[in-house]
């Protein structure tokens, strides 16, 4: 794994500067069934394709960002600050 990830603050950087933060997903409502919470906490979609995910720029700006990445080719299609998708 050696792809480049564009940090919205710092620009294109080696992926080793980042900590992977998992898939971006919606937490269930507080009173949702336990099964929904278990699914949210323990299961992953693990798609072979495009997914949106969290990354933390550990060796850079120290901010959480989101990136849209193809998990097969490691091509990063888009990256942005949370809530600021273009």
């Amino acid at each position: 794994m050696s792809f480049l990830l564009a940090c919205p603050n710092c620009g294109k950087r080696s992926v080793y500067e980042f900590r992977f933060g998992g898939e971006v997903k919606q937490a269930p409502a507080a009173d949702a069934p336990e099964a929904d919470w278990m699914d949210y906490r323990f299961n992953r979609a693990n798609v072979a394709g495009v997914q949106t995910e969290w990354w933390f720029h550990r060796s850079g700006c120290g901010q959480w960002i989101q990136a849209v990445r193809n998990t097969v080719s490691n091509e990063v299609l888009e990256s942005f600050l949370p809530g600021e998708r273009g």
Binding site: S14, A32, E34, M38, R41, F56, N74
Partner: protein, 872 residues
């Protein structure tokens, strides 16, 4: 120049490689083969084949044909006993019938059998020996460029020049000591482009890396480059090179011809002969037979004749029957007769060196016209140039052989017969044939054997070469030393501000993550750990002790919404915490699993001081940041861990010590348990938290890091009269265990919720919402499966961490921490047991030294269960 080979001094010229100097000095056998221990001599002289690998200054598997001589270097052979000329294990070739292709898959089918023979086979089939410590030094570096050109031949030079003249930053990577590629040793290929080389060397923005190999192309246009001897002190440097565009101008390499005994010492590739002759002035034989077709055969014959060698005959490769001799070439038998000679020069097919193109996502496609695999479908960020792109003269047809002594793969002694046997056994696809026979999987990584292996496979299966296809090109190729991949051995070490004061006190160090912490203090040279820890324990329980806790994670959280954030991420309610109060802080994830614990002190309405466990600081910091996303809350989090030193002063006499250094009222009425104050201690501004991890009256004192050592010394000074003792992590672990205080990550794991760990009191389910609430509210109602309990061992011994708990002969849990308690005068500990056993006084068994020892369960702290002492 001189170097040593097997203890003997060898003369060398300045530009010599080790192999050239040895050959000139008369050495002909350079190694013994992997399986049959057949003698092998120089073949390719270009760093591709495995034949010249030796041990150089302790480093195994060095390709001596491309390694320059250094004064005084020590070279020795490997995989040969007792010597290269006489190797007892060469007897194995007479038992080849017992070792057919895939013999270890067929023979060692039982694990016990394999385990018995593995050490013997490993040694016999060794590729050199790795020393536990190497004298070699390695380093890493990072580079970026517009254009990277791989290869320093005619194509590479001109590609680099064109890019530079266009204004690009250029890095040129050449595996030779000087530019020129094959033009340096093949006079017939043309003149060295001296003008272009000079322009390139003087061009702005051009960096030329000689003696450097590109071993792979990775995602994001990352090239792995290995630079040999970049400076006096460094053996190898691994360069991570990012290039916008890569030009693969790696040329073509010559490969052997396949005929019986084609591995004899004295069979050499024509380019090997030319390299030795034109680069090092070494004439490789007196009487040579040249096997090849024009124009290559004529070119090398002319070179040898000019150097004074006799060309006995030029034979067509199709006419060869076998090489003659015992292990060194004495002649050759062909369909037209036998000839005596001391050198067989083979002009083999040339293979475009285009593996990098395949790694970049391109293809290697068979060309019937060239009789070679040429790069195709090259991705946009890569180009190929010169021979590597197929811009070369077509190869002549080359014969194949099914003989058991016609070696296709020199690295692991795979013959034409072995390949045919493998195909007959059903491994008739090139990728499975490769895995079964290990052809193309040795040190040459297929450079010498891929083409003939594909040829044999195609011929035997009746498929075309194009349909047979090519094995996948994967990095690293050429091979890279593990030392270069590992790089230099820098170990990050963090020292607390009081580090050197601890050293004066005789600290015995332990590593906790990157931190160095005193495990205990060795008060005199003969002292044992056990007695030191007992002394430290006793002074905290009966007098006063002080421990450095600077490694605690420390976060300054402020802003008018700081309370809101802490209420969300911690299970307790911090908005209600009054200023100047401290509270235990427990953090869970959304599954209700314990993530971290620490304390939170409210210093002002909008300012909190948060501590975390040493190892979890970064995680907790990032976790807090994550929960802030999208809230628009006014919260600022600052990591102040390195900014503050911290120490915990504890024991019944701690107040007496501290009183001497501060005006702050320390009475329990003015400064009660779980309160915090900002005050000056010995003139140093400090934050005091009245908390008690070790279970005694005590203060955790935080102060600016630059004053921490001064404050530490002031405490020890003031405490002299009370016989104050510094204590280390080991005593602290014992003290906290007596209080049943847990350590997250030691006593808890990735499935522990607070109710099971006995921390249910720290979870405020009546809070509207917080991380983990949804599942914790359910966990509270469910019957927990396991419970963390204390135990007191009856009898002697000390269970190890992780020791099994047994009830009624069945596994029933595990020990997480255990120490001998001087207070209980018995071994005590924490253990996970089934909820049914989690009752006061239940008898359980704990494994101690391979035996089961009885222990009784307790649900209360082992020491001062009411917690009166820390409130005093």
């Amino acid at each position: 120049m001189k170097f040593f080979f097997r203890g003997k001094s060898i003369e060398a010229k300045a530009e010599d490689t080790i192999a050239a100097a040895l050959y000139r000095a008369g050495q002909r056998i350079f190694s013994r083969s992997f399986k049959y221990h057949r003698p092998r001599g120089l073949l390719c002289v270009s760093g591709n084949c495995p034949n010249c690998m030796m041990n150089v200054d302790g480093v195994p598997n060095v390709r001596t044909c491309i390694t320059p001589v250094r004064e005084g270097m020590k070279v020795k052979a490997q995989n040969a006993f007792p010597s290269l000329e006489t190797d007892f294990l060469s007897v194995t070739q007479h038992f080849d019938r017992l070792m057919p292709v895939g013999w270890y898959y067929k023979t060692f089918t039982h694990p016990a059998m394999w385990h018995a023979v593995e050490p013997v086979i490993r040694k016999a089939a060794g590729l050199g020996e790795v020393l536990p410590t190497l004298p070699a030094k390695y380093e890493h570096s990072w580079m970026h460029t517009d254009t990277a050109v791989i290869g320093g031949g005619w194509a590479g030079i001109h590609a680099a020049l064109a890019a530079a003249e266009r204004g690009d930053q250029v890095v040129l990577i050449d595996d030779q000591p000087v530019l020129g590629g094959q033009l340096r040793y093949r006079k017939a290929a043309g003149e060295l482009p001296a003008g272009a080389i000079a322009r390139l060397q003087n061009a702005a923005g051009v960096k030329i890396l000689q003696d450097s190999s590109c071993f792979g192309m990775y995602e994001g246009n990352l090239l792995g480059v290995l630079q040999r001897n970049p400076n006096e002190d460094t053996t190898e440097r691994l360069i991570h090179l990012r290039a916008r565009h890569t030009v693969v101008a790696t040329g073509a390499y010559e490969t052997p011809l396949i005929f019986p005994n084609n591995d004899f010492v004295g069979v050499m590739l024509s380019t090997g002969v030319q390299r030795l002759l034109h680069l090092y002035g070494v004439v490789t034989g007196k009487r040579a037979v040249v096997a090849g077709s024009p124009p290559d055969a004529e070119e090398v014959s002319a070179d040898l004749r000019a150097a004074g060698a006799e060309i006995v005959v030029i034979v067509d490769p199709g006419q060869i029957v076998t090489a003659l001799g015992s292990c060194k070439v004495e002649g050759i038998r062909t369909s037209t007769g036998s000839f005596s000679c001391d050198l067989i020069v083979v002009c083999g097919p040339r293979v475009p060196n285009a593996g990098l193109v395949a790694q970049a996502g391109g293809k290697l496609q068979w060309s019937d016209a060239h009789r070679a695999f040429l790069p195709a479908d090259i991705p946009g960020n890569v180009s190929a140039a010169g021979d590597a792109a197929g811009d070369m003269q077509p190869n002549a047809a080359s014969p194949l052989s099914r003989d058991k002594r016609a070696f296709v793969c020199l690295c692991s002694d795979v013959s034409g017969k072995d390949l045919c046997d493998g195909i007959a056994e059903g491994f008739d696809q090139i990728e499975t044939l490769k895995r079964y026979t290990t052809a193309t999987m040795g040190p040459c990584q297929g450079r010498m054997c891929q083409l003939p292996a594909i040829g044999v496979c195609a011929h035997e299966t009746g498929r075309s070469v194009s349909d047979t296809g090519v094995t996948t090109s994967r990095p690293p190729n050429p091979s890279v030393t593990l030392g270069a991949l590992a790089g230099s051995s820098h170990h990050l070490v963090r020292r607390t501000p009081m580090h050197y004061a601890h050293e004066e006190l005789g600290a015995v160090w332990m590593d906790m993550g990157d931190w160095k912490r005193p495990r205990y203090y060795k008060r005199n040279t003969g002292a044992q750990e056990k007695e030191c820890v007992v002394l430290e324990h006793k002074s905290v329980r009966e007098g006063v002790g002080v421990i450095d806790v600077s490694t605690l994670g420390k976060l300054d959280v402020r802003g008018k919404d700081a309370a809101k954030l802490l209420d969300i991420v911690y299970t307790h309610r911090f908005s209600e915490l009054r200023t100047n109060q401290v509270r235990y802080a427990l953090m869970c994830d959304q599954g209700g699993i314990i993530l971290d614990d620490g304390t939170i002190s409210r210093l002002a309405e909008d300012r909190y001081f948060v501590t975390t466990t040493s190892g979890n600081l970064d995680f907790v910091h990032q976790w807090l940041q994550w929960w802030l996303i999208g809230t628009n809350w006014d919260v600022h989090i600052c990591n102040v861990t390195a900014g503050y030193g911290a120490m915990n002063l504890a024991g019944p006499k701690s107040r007496d010590v501290l009183r001497k250094l501060t005006d702050c009222d320390l009475t329990s009425i003015a400064f009660p348990y779980m309160a915090c104050r900002e005050a000056k201690i010995a003139g140093i501004p400090a934050l005091l938290l009245r908390i008690g991890f070790v279970g005694e009256t005590g203060w955790e004192i935080h102060c600016p890091a630059e004053s921490a050592e001064e404050l530490w010394r002031a405490l020890l000074d003031a405490g002299k009269k009370f016989d104050i003792q510094p204590f280390g992590v080991e005593a602290q672990r014992l003290l906290r265990l007596e209080k049943r205080h847990i350590i997250v990550g030691v006593d808890t794991d990735a499935l522990t919720n607070p109710y099971e760990a006995g921390l249910g009191w720290a979870v405020k389910l009546d809070k509207k919402d917080f991380v983990g609430r949804a599942l914790l509210s359910r966990a509270k109602e469910h019957q927990a499966r396991e419970s963390l309990v204390g135990f007191v061992l009856k009898g002697t011994g000390l269970p190890k961490d992780g020791a099994a708990v047994v009830v009624n002969g069945q596994p029933a849990g595990r020990v997480t921490s255990s120490r001998f308690s001087p207070i209980q005068k018995a071994a005590i500990g924490l253990a996970w047991v089934k909820v049914s056993e989690a009752r006061e006084g239940t008898l359980i068994y704990v494994r101690v030294d391979e035996k089961l020892a009885p222990a009784s369960v307790t649900m209360r702290p082992f020491y001062d269960p009411e917690g009166l002492r820390l409130r005093q």
